[in-house]
């Protein structure tokens, strides 16, 4: 029997619950329940009308059965009947049943809505409360249709009781969340804002939740709530702990309301009115100060409530990101919490610091805690906390600490929980790529990743390492050597075989000179892994073999023997069989020249957003990967096409998906390399007749085009089947003007044609761009022009993104290209004598002023072309200055609105090695860096 029965207890219910609890087995329980269901059914069907009490009791039993996890298919009508009872407890059970067992039976909904309507009109606050609770609990669209117009009236009516106002506010909030279109804004909104001034703190608490959600969607409409919220907050934080009576919670004045007000303020930028702003800053300072005061109680409730307000205040400070003083104080406070004995506080401090790390004001302050965070990674017993530590390390990583952080993450990976391994792998891969100064370090890191956690290395990660190795010729030899060594391990992960196979297939020749890694040894090493691998990997290895035929003619027969063996030619897997047949045929029929063309080294991959980053974002959901640079990237993440899949494959995206790049090797060499001589074309088509059409022709990537514009101002920036974008630009001092021409290459109109120039936050402060919108319709064959006025305020690194969206036929097109506005455009050439040049050269000898790059020539090394490029770059070309006549030197001044930066450059070609050494010296490190990057790409 129950220990307690309060109020209008139901004995029959208590007996039933006892019976259920006494059941020894699941079967006994089901038996007892079925008996009860039969009993209730007969009572409901019986001819004797049931009294209210019995009805209530049976409905309550049904509810209990449902909550045990059993289905209930009757009793709804009896519950609806209870709604119109005059006895509160009966009505209450009726509403509870309806709330828990929503049924979209239309007949019933009408009856329920009717009962609710009556109760809302009853002016009895307890009945009104029940009706509002029910609407909020069900929250269906039907309910919104019926009541969304009525509730705002109840909320702002002068004679509504406080408790009803509270319920009405939150009920409306629920309806707004499920069906915002059914809750129209109107006169009531301004009156709702004034509820922030209400005398009853319960009303203010409920109203603040409603206003916060409404303000997120309609910021203009609720702008006045900012000053009201600030003054309310200020009154709370300055009140003595007893002032607010029952709203003081363990000596903390109104913590719920404080947190909600701080949340509301996070919907807006810092207040413009200096008085309001000052008052808010005072509030935030008071909250930070209170954190340092001794606690008023030892109870955990006291510290939780107090710190809840503190953390919310810190969130607001981070959101505003405008008061360096507050940001640094917040960081110090969180630093204290990092070592707190309460696990919860350590967890939250790590989490909060993660967002703080992305503010330029506090990034450095956050970095000072690196040792503590690394320690947390090693010693925390709770996986949730360690996960936060990983997040924070990721967020605080920059060039200065990348090596340390990546090493620690790799260390941790060896023992990390399975649930978070994949995420750590992605993070390590991203950091290693982003902050690689030395790409050999990058290659080592990724191979380590595969060694430690091969199963968690997703395809994106190993695709990426290959893209990078292909695109950076300075690391190819090292990569080949390293994978060769890694493959020596008796048991290596299949992902390593993939990477190794691919890289050796492309660059095995770079290490073939060493007798320890001769062609045959390389081949035997790879082939020793072949039989242990899955089909896709074996397919990749077959492609490696055919590439070896081209790289190492001396082992051609060995490879042909392998391809010819029954296990290949008669393989049960059709893909493997096809590759073996075709490759064998290709190696037999084709001449050396054709082989060399078909199996040429892969061309560089077009630069694009790292697919790993995209994956991490997808995994974590948007908004959780908080990093300044990623936020920027996110804005331009349409680079590879739109969200609407229809257009992705159609025509906009000029690059095949990574899997096509890498695994479709069988077809890729044909389409990616220069077309073979026409005489042999038909033969090739025969050989590859099945697979040649599988991959769309590869249009030049936008980055290649971008590089082309560094030294020139006019030309075609982008072109696909639909659209051509041409540029014409002129620059003088720190100003410039660019004409963009959009040509519709089709015979169909483009609709909603919207080009947008997007600058990241960083870029916005250093580059002023003004554009006028263009006509949204572009007729077939027509060209429209857009002018961009440019002002360089200070030196900058990135380029703006030009995003173009339009409708063509039925499909939505969305593409982005980098707009070639680069720092060197603001160069003014300076002529000077040899003596002057070397004197200034010496003056700029501080290591931070000099940036040097040694790189392999990508184009034929022609002195005249080089000269033209240096002049096109914007600097003066100084003849007879360098004692070595083969070298090139240049000088110029970069003009920005704020300063002028003198720049000297020297380019030393080495014809024998086909290498260049480029040295930039300027008074500003970032400028040297950027100019060196830009110019290095040109030769």
């Amino acid at each position: 029997m129950p220990a307690v029965s309060k109020g209008d207890g139901m004995r029959g219910l208590a007996v039933f619950i006892s019976d259920i609890r006494n059941c020894k087995s699941k079967e006994a329980e089901i038996k007892r329940i079925n008996k009860e269901l039969a009993n209730i059914r007969s009572k409901f069907k019986g001819d004797k009308a049931l009294d209210g009490y019995s009805k209530k009791k049976y409905v309550c039993k049904l509810l209990f059965i449902f909550l045990l996890g059993h289905d209930i298919d009757f009793g709804h009508m009896e519950a609806v009947n209870l709604l119109s009872s005059n006895r509160y407890t009966e009505k209450q059970i009726g509403y509870l049943f309806i709330s828990v067992l929503v049924n979209s039976n239309s007949e019933l909904i009408r009856l329920i809505n009717n009962a609710i309507k009556n109760d809302l009109a009853s002016r009895n606050p307890t009945f009104m409360g029940l009706a509002l609770h029910c609407i909020a609990n069900v929250g269906s669209r039907e309910m919104a249709e019926a009541f969304a117009g009525e509730i705002p009236k109840i909320l702002v009516a002068g004679d509504t009781m406080d408790s009803v106002k509270q319920s009405a506010a939150l009920c409306l909030l629920r309806l707004y969340r499920t069906s915002p279109d059914l809750v129209p804004m109107g006169d009531w909104t301004s009156r709702v804002v004034h509820l922030l001034n209400d005398q009853h703190l319960g009303v203010v608490t409920a109203a603040t939740s409603l206003i916060t959600t409404l303000a997120q969607k309609n910021p203009e409409e609720f702008k006045t709530s900012v000053s009201l919220a600030v003054s309310r907050l200020s009154r709370i934080v300055t009140s003595a702990s007893t002032d607010l009576q029952d709203y003081t919670y363990y000596f903390v004045p109104a913590p719920w309301l404080s947190v909600k007000l701080l949340r509301l303020l996070q919907c807006y930028p810092p207040p413009e009115d200096p008085a309001v702003r000052g008052r808010l800053t005072e509030c935030l300072e008071t909250i930070l100060n209170k954190a340092q005061e001794p606690p008023k109680s030892k109870k955990v409730q006291h510290s939780n409530a107090k710190n809840a307000v503190l953390f919310e205040a810190i969130s607001l400070i981070i959101h505003h990101d405008s008061e360096p003083n507050l940001l640094v104080r917040a960081c110090n406070q969180l630093g204290q919490f990092l070592q707190h004995r309460e696990t919860n506080l350590r967890y939250l401090a790590l989490e909060s610091m993660c967002t703080l790390a992305s503010s330029e004001f506090s990034h450095e302050a956050v970095k000072t805690h690196i040792e503590t965070v690394i320690n947390a990674l090693k010693t925390e017993r709770d996986v949730s906390v360690r996960q936060r530590a990983v997040d924070l390390l990721y967020a605080m990583c920059d060039r200065s600490n990348a090596q340390q952080i990546v090493a620690e993450m790799l260390n941790y990976l060896e023992t990390a929980d399975y649930s978070i391994r994949e995420e750590i792998v992605l993070k390590v891969a991203i950091l290693a790529e982003k902050y690689a100064v030395d790409y050999t370090w990058y290659v080592d890191t990724i191979l380590n990743l595969i060694r430690i956690a091969g199963d968690y290395v997703s395809e994106e990660v190993w695709y990426r390492v290959i893209q990078i190795v292909i695109n950076r010729d300075d690391v190819q030899g090292y990569a080949a050597k390293t994978v060769f060594e890694a493959l020596q391990a008796p048991a290596c992960h299949e992902n390593l075989v993939k990477v190794g196979g691919y890289i050796l297939g492309e660059f095995g020749n770079l290490i073939a000179g060493d007798p320890r890694s001769s062609p045959l040894i390389q081949f035997n090493l790879l082939h020793s892994k072949f039989h242990l691998c899955s089909v896709p990997t074996r397919a990749l290895l077959l492609s490696t073999y055919i590439k070896f035929v081209n790289l190492f003619p001396e082992i051609k027969t060995t490879i042909q023997d392998v391809l010819r063996s029954d296990s290949q030619l008669k393989n049960a897997d059709v893909e493997l069989q096809q590759r073996a047949v075709e490759y064998l045929r290709l190696s037999t029929i084709a001449s050396t020249d054709i082989l060399a063309t078909v199996l040429e080294e892969m061309p560089p991959f077009p630069e694009r957003e790292s697919s790993i980053l995209a994956k991490l974002k997808k995994k974590k959901g948007p908004g959780t990967v908080t990093d300044l640079e990623e936020i920027k990237k996110e804005r331009s993440s349409d680079m590879n096409g739109s969200a609407e899949p229809a257009s992705v494959n159609a025509s906009v995206v000029s690059t095949p998906s990574p899997s096509a790049d890498l695994l479709g090797l069988g077809a890729a060499p044909v389409t990616n390399s220069a077309p073979p001589p026409s005489s042999s074309g038909s033969l090739l088509v025969d050989v590859f007749s099945d697979s040649a059409s599988a991959v769309a022709p590869l249009a030049p990537g936008s980055d290649d085009n971008f590089a082309r514009f560094v030294c020139k101002n006019n030309g075609v920036l982008f072109e696909n089947q639909l659209l051509q974008i041409g540029l014409k630009s002129e620059f003088r001092q720190n100003l410039g003007r660019m004409f963009i021409f959009y040509g519709n290459k089709t015979s169909t109109q483009f609709l909603n044609f919207t080009p947008t120039v997007i600058c990241s936050d960083d870029l916005q402060s250093s580059l002023n761009l003004q554009t006028k919108p263009v006509d949204p319709t572009v007729d077939g064959g027509a060209q429209v022009q857009q002018v961009v006025n440019i002002e360089c305020v200070s030196d900058f690194m990135e380029a703006p993104i030009l995003n173009i969206q339009f409708r063509y036929g039925g499909t939505f097109q969305n593409l982005s290209v980098k707009l070639p506005i680069t720092l060197n455009k603001f160069f003014q050439p300076t002529e000077m004598s040899s003596q002057d040049f070397f004197q200034r050269w010496k003056q700029l000898s501080n290591p931070k002023q000099e940036v040097q790059n040694i790189f392999k020539a990508k184009h034929p090394m022609d002195a005249e072309i080089t000269k033209a490029k240096i002049i096109g770059f914007g600097s003066a070309l100084l003849e007879e200055v360098d004692p070595n006549p083969a070298n090139f030197v240049g000088a110029g001044i970069i003009h920005t609105k704020t300063t002028q930066i003198g720049c000297l450059l020297r380019l030393e070609p080495n014809l024998q090695a086909q290498m260049y050494r480029l040295t930039l010296r300027t008074s500003k490190e970032a400028v040297s860096q950027r100019l060196c990057e830009l110019l290095s790409e040109q030769f």
Partner: protein, 154 residues
């Protein structure tokens, strides 16, 4: 906003479920199973927060009962712990030294008390006095033990 609140015993028996978002019953059952399993498998002395899908679970154990709320990423974790505590206080005030059995046998009251405190996943009334008064108003028709015992047993 709180997406749902679950109360369950150390043995994994669900004692109360309150949903502030609309989900099919099947989905709810799946979630309940999954979450009970996650929370029960956590050691003591760990934090009270667990990432779960795109939500965050905030939980605390009181005697034999676990209270678990699922909140959104930007919601305040510490204050959610105090939402749980305030709810326990309200139950305590109403039942007088509440125990798991009270919630089993008077589950409907536990729901009513929760409704007075939280609507649509947001805290409505944080004053203990006001919330409890609302519930006690509904119990004005107190009955004597004899009246109770005279009611039919089923």
């Amino acid at each position: 906003m709180i997406h749902f609140i679950l109360l369950f015993s150390r043995q994994g028996k669900l004692r109360l479920q309150k949903w502030y978002t609309t989900l099919p019953d099947k989905e709810k059952k799946k979630i309940i199973r999954e979450i009970i399993q996650i929370i029960l498998s956590r050691n003591q002395k760990t934090s009270s927060f667990v990432d779960w899908k795109d939500l965050k679970l905030v939980y605390k154990r009181y005697a034999s009962l676990y209270f678990c709320c699922a909140i959104e990423d930007q919601d305040n974790e510490l204050l959610t712990l105090e939402v749980v505590h305030r709810y326990v206080e309200l139950l305590d005030r109403y039942f007088g030294n509440v125990c798991e059995l009270d919630i089993i046998f008077n589950f409907e009251k536990a729901y009513f008390i929760l409704d007075e405190f939280i609507i649509g996943g947001e805290v409505q009334e944080t004053s203990k006095k006001t919330a409890v008064k609302a519930i006690e108003d509904s119990d004005m028709l107190q009955e004597t033990v004899e009246e109770y015992m005279n009611k039919p047993a089923f």
